[in-house]
Each structure stands twice: as structure tokens, then as C-alpha cells.
Symmetry: C2
Subunit: 458 residues, 2 copies
């Protein structure tokens, strides 16, 4: 199939991908199958994008908004008759304003570019996650991305002061305000953040920035019980005066596995611990930050909460510690058929949840290949990965874990969204009344159901 | 008129106010006229509240949600045929959880009680504003209140992790989650926060808490130019490592007026300054916080940015400084007919806006009684108050200032909401497309238009 002529006229033939070229393009980073769609259309401006949407709406043509194509739940998968609407050309990044501590950026801005542009002005963009090099602002906002620094700066939603989005019928809603307080009627931007392109297409945002830290301290701590992990988090929050930026927990099975795969036998800490935590603080006082961080780590040990700790003495050591947390290559080899969960739980439930998940898997699906658990503890967010030797019982594993999350009152998606992959499990976290209300909103804003149909809502 | 029998049956006769008793009750703190309404109904529980709403929806009866009755824009004013639905009995406050740093509270919880309950656990509820002693959580959330600490902790919206709200038809949407990351479909809570009871009635929330600071340092600084004020804000944010909690600016005319009214000739600083700033930091390190604060203040002076400064040496001195900022008694006497604006502007526009407002008023409405400007600088939020000797030209003053706000791309309501009073000015901050989209949402969630009709939307 080829692109509809009117759309080619709007964006220009050079910005349409269809036919054979499209079939050669992988759907996304995680699904290297051929892209299914009628065409990928890349407008250069908001008026062009609005015109594309208006045409699609008038013609009942499904539209799949697309950014950096690293969505984890097939949020940009298309059907053969759909138009993929890429916002990648809306990539302008304004000059970060050090006085107002804001920056305006287009949906196509790559997260890492945005980070670097702010860093150059001594400012910090508060969002950081693994796919920073490919993910674009539009995708990060429409999935309300989380990541490594949410403990300190919040999630994607918290970075947004003003937003521009285009409705299914092409209506441009532009509210690019740059202030923290604005109670002028309904806060429409909240509808588009986190709704995965099903209610509108985000085109631009004014983002809140933070003072750029000048110091960084990193430590790995080992804990013998979970209570001690959470107690230390609370103490560190106080002792580090709000400079604590990451507090990443790793359960023993994951930590030891990745350590063995990466470190050639070297161990940062001699003993094994049920829980390891990678914690990092970033501050503004070169003369005192290191000492304060050391004191905080020492206090965790002296109080008996931490069994051991190592403080990174160089950038290289810091990167080695983070690699244990961030590298998933060995894990991808271990889990022939990988099944991963991105969940939120109350802190007090976490240890029991993981223990019960392990027991249930051992009992019900004894061929499972292990349970790797890590996460952003301060956000209540765990990433749980397991695997099977063959795919047959994959859905059973999912059903078992999702039901367990529901029983603990947890969230089946902390930061990756729903897309297609989790759509049919949404009822584990949201009531029938909530899902019905979501449908009412969808009907109100996209009555012809052209925007990312089949995503999010079951 | 008396309360409908079915509603009396739901909540019990002792929890209905109507007839003469109702006529004796003032509408709200700011409008001491008799309450107009058929009855005030106070359910004891969410099921009761849901039943009240369902009956009203079935019978096309307007419902005005009500909390502590200190709304500044007549957000709880009713028509004679309306039912006022008070959430004051939903006042349960759970035990604040120091580990998870959360607390669950009902809509009827008084803000100050909530603050004190958290303080007792060494935790801080991040919302504080003048009406703390009367305002209730439901009202604070439904108006997305701001206040003194937003610079550090954000506005009301930012405090909410989980929310329960009831739709017009009685549908209970309960999502009382206690974690920071949750991307399970549309974030419905955002619809009810800040929509002033027009989309649903908030009944309960799980709130995010922060570590309770143990030190407090307060200073008053005088500045000769506005650039220096904003430069010092940026520097203080860094130097105080995120412990800066307030940065309140006062223009000279307001500061000198209130100082003269309150201090019996004593002046904290000898000179007059075009701008004074009350700044406060709250930290966790008793051994070093005071010194760091003093250094930050000294740096502001040594750099030439601040012309003078005084650091509070006692709680009494601290309260005296805050009184200059918070007391409005003398102002209420000065401005026979008071007209106040609660606006957001870009920092770089503020000084020019105020100067232009003053010039325009002097030219167009020369009888105006002065222009008092103060605000939460770090939030881009100014409170601008003026007055007239007689009410005739009040609407002219409003039209002049609102048009000026629009020209500067500002917000006509930073933190007080729209209610009735600002409804007809909403178009100065929101486009026709945005207002039309708000109407679509209203139609989707409250098709019979029973919830707080006539508020927010023009």
C-alpha cells in the first residue's frame, strides 16, 4: 500500500515512507518485525501535523503517533491500514533559560540531546532512563516515563509546565505556559501525558528544569533484611538534604548473576547480601558533599542496617557499579523466553511479594529460569524478570504474576505504560468503573477512535 | 425550602441543614450573605455521598460540593434549588506512614490538622497556605491550592499519589494507590484535581509526604533591581541545596505600607528598596544549616545583588517578618473596594508588567488607591491588589488588568481557581479550542450538568 495522496501533499514526498522501504523498516527496537502500516508520515510543523490528523479523522483512518520507537509494550504497533505519524521532525529545542529554569522543546527532541543542551547551561532536565539515546520527548511524555531520577525530580508528568497537543480532529490545544502555578480551568495537559497517544498527539512542551548539580557521589550497600533497606532510604533522604537522586535496589539473585557475568570474579563487596542498593547523590557543594555522603554511608553501617558498603572512588568505579544495575545482556541470554514486569507496590509489601512470586512460580511453573528483581525503591517501583525455556506457558506466568500484583494492590505498570502488551491485564489495577470512565474520555476526545486504536483500553 | 426526603433518609436528619438555620449561615468566609440553597447535606461515608449524588443526578438537582468555605472565587456559591454537599464529615486522617512517607486522608480533613498529624511523625505535608485552619483537603485538592511552600514541594496536585472521587451519577472511582509511579491507563485523578468540583467530588486521597525538617532559617533581603532578585533566587537554590522553601517577593509600595501599619516605626532594614524578599530555608542538619544560610545571605550582599539583609535571630523575629508578608488587615482598610488578582507570569515579564499596570491604572482610572504587589516569586506567582473608593469602576479595573495579563501571556489564576468570579475572564488565559475541550470533558463526565453548574466554564 502507498501513502494517501493528500498526506503526501501536506508533508512532501520526501517525508513519507511507504511501499518496500517501509517493509524493510523494523517495527520498533524490541520487535524487529517489518513495520505494518500504510505509510509513515513525518510533518515538519504543527500545522502540517494538524492537517494530517484532520484528513485521517475525516477519512476514518487510524493514526499511530510515533517517536523514538523504543516503547516496551508495542505502543506504536500499527495495523496495515493505519498511518504512522512520526513527530521526529518536531525536534527543535529552545535555549534553556537559566533564570526561569525552563526549556521549550518539540516532541521529536531526543531525551539525551535535551539533557545535554540543559547541562551546557548548568541546568538539569529531571528525566533520565535507559533509552535516553533514542527516546523522544513526545514518547516520554505520552507514556509518562519514569526512570532513574524520579526519586528526586519526579516522573515525566512532573517536568511539564506547558504543553501543546493536537486532538484527533486536528484541533491544536496550545498552552505553552512557563510557570508552576496555573489554575485556569481544567488542566488539559494531564490528559495527554501518559495516555499513550490515544487522546491526542503531543507536539511541544515547556519543561521545568533544576539547578545542575556539580558533585556526584555513588555507593553500593549490602543489606541483610528489607526493613533495613527502607529505613536507610528514609535516613539518607534526611542526611543528604534532598541531594539523593537514586536509590536502586537489587535482589541477590539478580545482583549475583549480573556481577558474575560482568566483573570477571571481582566483587565490590566480599559477602553476599539478600539486597544490594546502588545509591547516588548529586549536590552543589564540592567542599562538603563527599564528606556528607561518606558520613551517611558510614551511619548506615554503624547503625547495623547495612552489612557492608563501597563508595566509588572514580568515575570508572561509578560506571562499573551502575553497569551491574543497568546491563541486561547476560540476562537476555539466560532467559530464553523473557517475561518482564514493571510494577509498583507499597514498600511494606515488596519483600513478601517477591518471596511469594518465587514460591508460586516454583510450585506452578517449576521450569521457570529464575526471578530477577531490581528497581527504583524510592518510587515503589520494581522490575521483575523471569524466563522460560520455551514459550508455551508464557501466558500462565503472566496470569500468575499479574494476579499476585492485584492481590497486593499493586500497579501492573509503573512506568512503561500499557500499550498492547498489558491491555488485557489492565483490570488487575483498575476497576470496571475506572475503565468505563476512561472510555468516556476516549469517546469525548476521539469519537471516531482513530488515535492509536486498540492501545491502553481493553 | 426544605431538604428532599430521600436525601434526609440517606444522611439522617441530624446532618441536614435547611430552612431558617440555613438562612442564618453565611455563604462563605468572604461573602457573609445568607447561604442560598435548598439544603446542606453532610454524608458520613462515601456510599452515602454516592447515594446523594445518584439521587440528585436522577432528579436533575444541582449539587455544590463544599469544604471549609474559604474559596476566594465563590466556588461554593449555590442557587436556591441546589443541594450543597458538604464533605466535612469525611474527615478521617490515617496514621502517617514514616516508611512509605504517605498518609491517607478524607476530603473533610482540615489542612492544619493534617499538617500537625504529619509533623508529629517527623513528616511534612507539603501544602501550606493562609486558610490552613479552615480549608479542607477536598477543597484544597479540587482547587489545586498553592501557597507558601510550592517552590519546594509543588502545588496540591503534586502531593497526591492516590485519589478517590465520585462522579455525578454516583459512580465511585477509587484509586487509593500509595506509589509514585503508576501508568495504568488514564490518570483519572488529574481530572478531579483543580476542576473545582465540576467533574466529580473528591472524597479521599493518599498524599505524598516529605521528611520533616528540623531547622529553619529566615531572612529579609532588600534589592534595588528585579534582575538581582531573580539572580539571587537561582543562587540560593544552589547554595541551599534544595532546602529553600519560600522566596516571597514584596514590591516597595506594599512592603512599606504594611511595615508602617504593623511595626510602630521599627524598620528591619534602614533603607527603602524597590523589592524586598522574605526567604526561608528548612533543613535537616542543626550543626551546619544556620551557617550555610548565613553564607548564602552574605553572598547575596557581597555580590552586590542585595542592598541589605536581616536574618531572624528568634522565632519572634521570624514571625514579625512573616507578618509583614501575611497580614492584610491594614490593606483591607485602605482599599475601600478591594480588587485582587492572583496571577502567574514569566519571571522576565514581572517587573515590566507591574510598571505597566501602574501606569495604565494612573492613566485610565486615576482614582485607584494604590497597587500592592507581592508573591511567590519562585512559582512565577504574584498577588496584585488594588482598590477604589467606590465600586462603579471595578469592572473597568478588572478588564484593564486581565487584558494586560493576557498580553503578557500570563495566567489569570495562579492558585485560587476560577469559580464564578473569574469565569468570564477565562478566555484571557485559555483559547476557544481549550475551553471547548473543557466543555467536552464536562459533557462526558456530567452530562446532566448537575455538578457545581455555572462555575469555571463561561
Amino acid at each position: 500500500m502507498s501513502a494517501p495522496r493528500p498526506l503526501v501533499d501536506i508533508v512532501g514526498a520526501g517525508h513519507v515512507l511507504d511501499g518496500a522501504a517501509l517493509r524493510e523498516r523494523p517495527q520498533d527496537f524490541w520487535n524487529p518485525v517489518a513495520t505494518r502500516a500504510r505509510a509513515v508520515v513525518s510533518p515538519a510543523s504543527v500545522p502540517e501535523l494538524s492537517a494530517v490528523l484532520a484528513w485521517c479523522n475525516d477519512n476514518g483512518c487510524p493514526v499511530i503517533p510515533e517517536g523514538g520507537r523504543t516503547n516496551l509494550n508495542q505502543g506504536t504497533a500499527a495495523s496495515p491500514e493505519a498511518i504512522i505519524l512520526s513527530t521526529m521532525r518536531l525536534d527543535r529545542i529552545g535555549t534553556p533559560d537559566p533564570q526561569a529554569m525552563t526549556v521549550e522543546a518539540g516532541a521529536g527532541a531526543v531525551i539525551q540531546t535535551l539533557q545535554e543542551r540543559c547541562e551546557a547551561q548548568g541546568l538539569r532536565f529531571g528525566l533520565d532512563f535507559g533509552a535516553r539515546g533514542s527516546a523522544m520527548l513526545g514518547g516520554a511524555l505520552s507514556t509518562n516515563a519514569g526512570g532513574f531520577q524520579a526519586l528526586r525530580y519526579g516522573v515525566a508528568r512532573d517536568q511539564v509546565l506547558g504543553l501543546e497537543a493536537v486532538l484527533a480532529d486536528g484541533t491544536v490545544l496550545s498552552h505553552l505556559t512557563a510557570y508552576a502555578k496555573d489554575n485556569t480551568g481544567y488542566d488539559l495537559k494531564q490528559l495527554f501525558i501518559g495516555s499513550e497517544g490515544t487522546l491526542g498527539v503531543i507536539t511541544r512542551a515547556v519543561l521545568r528544569l533544576h539547578p545542575g548539580p556539580v558533585t556526584r557521589s555513588t555507593a553500593l550497600l549490602g543489606f541483610r533484611d528489607f526493613e533495613a533497606v527502607t529505613r536507610t532510604l528514609a535516613t539518607m533522604r534526611r542526611n543528604l538534604q534532598g541531594t539523593l537522586s537514586s536509590y536502586e535496589i537489587m535482589w541477590e539473585e539478580f545482583y549475583e548473576f549480573n556481577l558474575a557475568a560482568l566483573s570477571e570474579g571481582r566483587r565490590p563487596m566480599q559477602d553476599r547480601f539478600p539486597f544490594c542498593v546502588l545509591c547516588e547523590a548529586e549536590g552543589f557543594a564540592p567542599e562538603s558533599d563527599d564528606e556528607r555522603f561518606q558520613n551517611a554511608v558510614m551511619q548506615a553501617i554503624d547503625s547495623g542496617d547495612a552489612g557492608d558498603a563501597v563508595i566509588a572512588q572514580s568515575l570508572r568505579q561509578r560506571d562499573e557499579l551502575w553497569r551491574i544495575r543497568e546491563d541486561f545482556d547476560a540476562e537476555q541470554r539466560l532467559f530464553t523466553v523473557m517475561i518482564d514486569f514493571d510494577i509498583s507496590l507499597r514498600l511494606r509489601d515488596m519483600a513478601a511479594f517477591v518471596a511469594e512470586a518465587e514460591r508460586s512460580l516454583a510450585r506452578e511453573i517449576p521450569e521457570f529460569l529464575g526471578l530477577h528483581v531490581l528497581g527504583h525503591l524510592g518510587d515503589g517501583n520494581l522490575h521483575v524478570t523471569t524466563g522460560l525455556p520455551t514459550p508455551e506457558r508464557k501466558d500462565e506466568v503472566k496470569a500468575l504474576i499479574y494476579a499476585l500484583i492485584a492481590r497486593y494492590g499493586g500497579s501492573i505498570s509503573a512506568e512503561h505504560g500499557i500499550g498492547i502488551n498489558k491491555r488485557d491485564y489492565l483490570h488487575h489495577s483498575r476497576s470496571a468503573a475506572e475503565i468505563a470512565t476512561m472510555r468516556r474520555l476516549k469517546m469525548a476526545l476521539d469519537p471516531r477512535n482513530i488515535l492509536n486504536p486498540g492501545k491502553v483500553l481493553p
